[in-house]
Symmetry: C2
Subunit: 216 residues, 2 copies
Amino acid sequence: MELGTHPTFRDSADGTVLTSARAGDPIDRATDAARRVVDALLRTDRTNANLERVTEELDGIAEHLEEHAPAVAERLIDMWSGEGVTRHDPVTGPENAIAPPLVLEGRGDGTVCGTVTLTMAYQGPPGHVHGGVSALLLDHVLGVANAWYGRSGMTAQLSTRYHRPTPLFEPLTISGRVASVDGRKIHAEGDIRTADGQVCVSVEGLFIDKTVPRPR
Amino acid sequence: MELGTHPTFRDSADGTVLTSARAGDPIDRATDAARRVVDALLRTDRTNANLERVTEELDGIAEHLEEHAPAVAERLIDMWSGEGVTRHDPVTGPENAIAPPLVLEGRGDGTVCGTVTLTMAYQGPPGHVHGGVSALLLDHVLGVANAWYGRSGMTAQLSTRYHRPTPLFEPLTISGRVASVDGRKIHAEGDIRTADGQVCVSVEGLFIDKTVPRPR
């Protein structure tokens, strides 16, 4: 993310949405529909759904989309141009069907947070969120918290603690904040809680202020 | 995973595949096609690809699959019955379009490893793997390494270190092993390397031998 153009808690209102809104654009609606297919494939009956026909139809759609896809190198340039917030990341990206997607708001106290209900595709232990998915979400939230604080860094170290199993199918609150800054080292922390405030997973992250250049 | 039924490095051959093979079943083929759609949606041209029609078709497929889906509670019982290795997790599950999917083999020395090439959907920094995705993959690999060692535990703590950006579109080798066991505490470690052996991400995990009951 480019500094200077990105909102921070010092210059922006409490409640500023820091992730790309699902805009109702055709690509966002198509991605929502793809998310629905991913979930339904995990839930559907293995013998009574016509999976041969589904395969054919999905392959047909993919072929159509691929026919209209530019070369990957060209697409990479395009997807990193424009707005400071990405639309394609695997946590908050409205254009990425892997993303739940998580919507994050910045708070006046420097915290960022969002609420998300995770479903079948994110399952680890029976009925619960995969521990690695919790780490994925928290890493991303800490990155957004850095930007809201006015810094930007690459993850150097991420320490995740699991306090209790994190439930699927229930609203979870995910939050993060910068705890301290020491030169180029940014220390951030965050957690995932159930609706009644129980901490399921907590995280501490060390980020180094070092930007990976955008493709061009 | 149920102990006793799961292969370990003491009783099974070097090279034993520890993840569910893509069986060519209709559900696996349909999920492969869904993966292709997820990727193509990220790559396709935003203006020329007739995304309205794509949305309609994807929604139609989802509707068909949902019509044949049992209640979630019932499906949860079903998906956890049978074989000891899950087919639906977000890292190795052939039935989960979010999973790359990673295929893991057990080695005679107790290590588990696999090779995977990650694409657009797993992007964090431009052209590189999202740090949280690396944590997700490594958490899962350590879980499989525990089972190959003959133990099974819930993640208690996961410490991930990022040594250099992890490239997309290149084969990555992911491996894990149990480092030591102290009563119910299982210490495991692993890493992600490029084809020429450079370590991009390393991980240490503490797992506690505590099984979450399967739904029934």
